[in-house]
């Protein structure tokens, strides 16, 4: 396999096969079908096959297409800061904390600024969890304080001080005019000013969050969509152990 030139794969190497589906806000007609093919062509698709076109009622229609694209990428040339993480399981995490850390790990979670989207935050910390995994609240060795939505960064700082938090988890969904970068940086700076930054593990998450964003805003880690509670919990344990080693 030449990782210098990777293309989508259907059933033959380098065939570039892809499938897409989408809706149009018009009924199916000869013209709408041509429109769909035109959209696909402008996206760079070749050998376009429209395999399904169907009215969905109320003047909406649905299309499924197959085709090929003539795009290849060089995997070697791609540099992504990856959080490479050895995953522990639920029991290992609790055991490790019990052994390596004299008390429960105190976690604060919040969405900050005007952001009211708590789905991601809840997926990670509420007992309900995500993807069949329990959230951090379910771990006996984590003590979790969910501050909820739209918390001002100042309040997060104040609260961290009050309850001696070890971990601060912040979720940001709204990205209009990069408001998420502003909020995250502000929180990191405020914690720095209060001399709390080094005592804390600072984690952000959200649909547009990644390791790069974390780096830029002064966080220890940034998790994107599809992250499970176990990944976050494992990261916390790794980080705690790393910091303990450093002290010694």
């Amino acid at each position: 396999m030449n990782i210098g030139e990777v293309r989508p794969y259907g059933d033959r190497m380098n065939d570039g096969a892809i499938q897409i589906s989408f809706s149009l806000p018009v009924p199916v007609s000869a013209r709408s079908i041509e429109a769909v093919k035109l959209i696909a062509a402008r996206m760079g698709m070749n050998n376009i096959r429209l395999v399904h076109a169907q009215d969905m009622g109320n003047n909406f229609s649905f299309y499924i297409l197959y085709g090929a694209i003539n795009i290849s990428v060089d995997l070697q040339a791609i540099h992504v800061p990856e959080v490479e993480l050895q995953l522990f399981d639920f029991w290992e995490i609790n055991d490790l904390i019990r052994r390596e850390f004299e008390r429960k790990v105190v976690v604060i979670g919040a969405t900050i600024g005007v952001d009211a989207h708590t789905v991601g935050l809840d997926a990670i910390i509420s007992a309900k969890g995500f993807g069949g995994e329990s959230g951090l609240e379910r771990y006996p060795q984590f003590e979790v304080f969910n501050l909820g939505a739209q918390v001002p960064p100042e309040l997060v700082v104040e609260y961290s001080k009050k309850i001696h938090a070890d971990v601060v988890l912040v979720s940001q969904v709204v990205t209009q005019r990069n408001v998420h970068l502003f909020n995250l940086s502000l929180l990191a700076e405020l914690l720095e000013a209060e001399k709390l930054r080094d005592k804390l593990i600072l984690i952000c998450g959200g649909p547009y969050i990644n390791a790069q964003v974390a780096l830029e805003t002064g966080f220890d880690a940034g998790f994107g969509p599809g992250t499970t509670p176990l990944q976050v919990a494992s990261f916390i344990v790794h980080e705690l152990m790393k910091r303990k080693m450093r002290k010694k």
Partner: protein, 520 residues
């Protein structure tokens, strides 16, 4: 299709649940809440807002500050009507604008005030019963689908986009459309007003939004010749008030659970119990179906090992609703297919559990919820899971089926997501319609065994709850290990003890009968 379970054991569960519900009833009987009082004001037809604060909140807060709330709002409104000859709405306007203080008016004799309050209540109810008649007529001209009713959600945050999605869904075969509420509306201690086009993960529940959606669904009903049920959420700190909006605007189904707010929104348990009682009482008067939220109980725990908590909650929810005067046909108990699909025979267990619920509550319009926990982005596998879920739903003859979405956990449904789900559900509803009558479990096979075990576990938990007392049980984490303090949680400050002149003639059977007769 029947599971071989012990009817005696089922009856015993019901009896214990009844005792638990009676304990709740006994303890909340002397209490009212700010939300119940605001609901009464709304029943009287009081509406409007000043500087974004609804009149009903201003009035209740005003009485609370003057330490006069224990008589109940109706006492003061009736007394003010007697003094001034004004209607309740005009009294509200005068109080809000500061023209007079209801507490400073001369106090008429209790009997006079009581008579006036009863007159106001009768007028309000008969006006609402007239509205109900018009809705029933529409339902007769466009009969709804036969069950299972297919239930979908819309959640754009903008009521106009919601309407476009809802109408499209109805044309695609949906029978019930629920508008998801904006994140955390359940924590607001007031109901926002007006048409809204911005919400977070949903659309604000307001009277104006209810009205717009109702018009749209009635329009599309004529187009598809099928009545479309409008669904919303009667939960949170404004549970009782929302029930009134549902009645005013002709909604058909309200999500309403006695425990959900306590467990998952950290609302105070006394506040929630008082509010659920009055909200269910009102919804029952106007034949609005409630659906309960047991699906949430198994989203947080091992759904196979702890499934019986669903039954426990259903037994108690049923009794509480009945004590609020609801008939069984209106109590839509909730349950869900949330087992890990990797468990061997998971489909057999889902089928068993779904059948067990149907069999224990044969008159309930049970609401069956789709898998969500094991959907993480593979839309194709999610669609396969949903299709199997639909099969279980039709096979066990569920009444209301909330359709799963291939894009669960990714984004609020796109128009094609809902379309694909409905296409699958319509296919299954047609293709396996007679399964429940034609197929049978092997007697005393694995399914029967599992059903008996679940019922036994449910009974054991119910006994534990009865012994501890419900309030203690809640603080010890009987439900999905979530512990709540008796005086903790949001909204406790809005609970108060009724005074000796407290009036609520809406609860009076005679008044209700009178209003019904007057509406004919």
């Amino acid at each position: 299709m029947k599971l071989n379970i012990s009817q005696e054991q089922a009856n015993a569960c019901r009896q214990i649940a009844k005792e638990v519900a009676l304990e709740i009833q006994r303890d909340i009987a002397p209490l009212s809440t700010v939300s119940v009082e605001r609901a009464i004001l709304r029943l009287l037809g009081i509406e409007g807002e000043k500087e974004k604060i609804p009149y009903v909140n201003i009035l209740v807060d005003n009485l609370k500050e003057q330490k006069a709330l224990e008589e109940g709002v109706l006492y003061w409104i009736a007394n003010a009507c007697l003094n001034t000859g004004l209607s309740p709405q005009d009294v509200a306007l005068k109080v809000v604008s500061g023209s007079f203080n209801p507490v400073h008016l001369s106090r008429k004799s209790f009997q006079e005030v009581k008579n006036k309050a009863e007159e106001l209540a009768t007028e309000s109810l008969s006006r609402l019963y007239k509205k109900k008649k018009a809705r029933e007529a529409l339902k007769q001209s466009f009969p709804p689908s036969l069950p299972p009713l297919l239930y979908v959600i819309v959640a754009t945050g903008n009521i106009y986009d919601d309407i476009a999605q809802a109408k499209t869904a109805a044309e695609q075969g949906a029978d019930c459309v629920a508008v998801i509420r904006s994140t955390a509306q359940s924590l607001l201690d007031y109901i926002p007003e007006g048409i809204t086009t911005e919400g977070f993960g949903g659309t604000f529940a307001t009277q104006a939004n209810y009205r717009l959606m109702r018009q749209a669904l009635d329009e599309v009903a004529q187009k598809v010749s099928r009545y479309i049920y409008q669904v919303n959420y009667c939960s949170g700190l404004c549970m009782a008030e929302i029930a009134v909006l549902a009645i005013l605007e002709g909604l058909d189904i309200m999500v309403n659970d006695a425990f959900y707010g306590i467990l998952f929104r950290d609302l105070n348990m006394y506040r929630t119990m008082v509010d659920q009682h009055f909200s269910r009482y009102l919804l029952g008067l106007f034949d609005i179906i409630i659906t309960t939220g047991e699906d949430n109980l198994i989203k947080t725990v091992d759904a196979f090992k702890e499934y019986s908590i669903v039954l426990v909650s259903q037994f108690i929810n049923e009794q509480l609703a009945q004590q609020a005067g609801m008939k069984k046909e209106l109590i839509g108990l909730g349950h869900a297919a949330e087992l890990d699909p990797k468990i061997p025979d998971s489909l057999l267990w889902e089928l068993t559990q779904a059948q067990l619920v149907r069999q224990l509550f044969p008159r309930s319009p049970v609401k069956f919820m789709p898998p969500t926990r094991y959907k993480t982005g593979n839309i194709f596998f999610a669609h396969a899971l949903d299709t199997i879920f639909n099969l279980v739903a039709v096979w066990t003859d569920q009444r209301i089926v909330l359709l799963g979405m291939p894009t669960e956990a990714l984004h609020t449904p796109y128009v094609q997501d809902r379309f694909l789900s409905l296409e699958s559900a319509l296919h299954i509803r047609n293709a396996s319609r007679s399964f429940s009558r034609e197929l049978q479990f092997i007697r005393n096979g694995q399914a029967d065994k599992r059903a008996c075990e679940l019922l036994t576990q449910a009974m054991e938990t119910l006994i534990k709850i009865r012994e501890a007392g419900i309030w203690n049980a809640l603080s010890r984490g009987v439900f999905s290990q979530i512990k709540r303090e008796k005086r903790g949680g949001r909204g406790y400050e809005g609970v108060f003890k009724k005074g000796k002149f407290y009036l609520n003639p809406f609860l009076d059977k005679k008044i209700v009968m009178q209003a019904r007769r007057r509406a004919v």
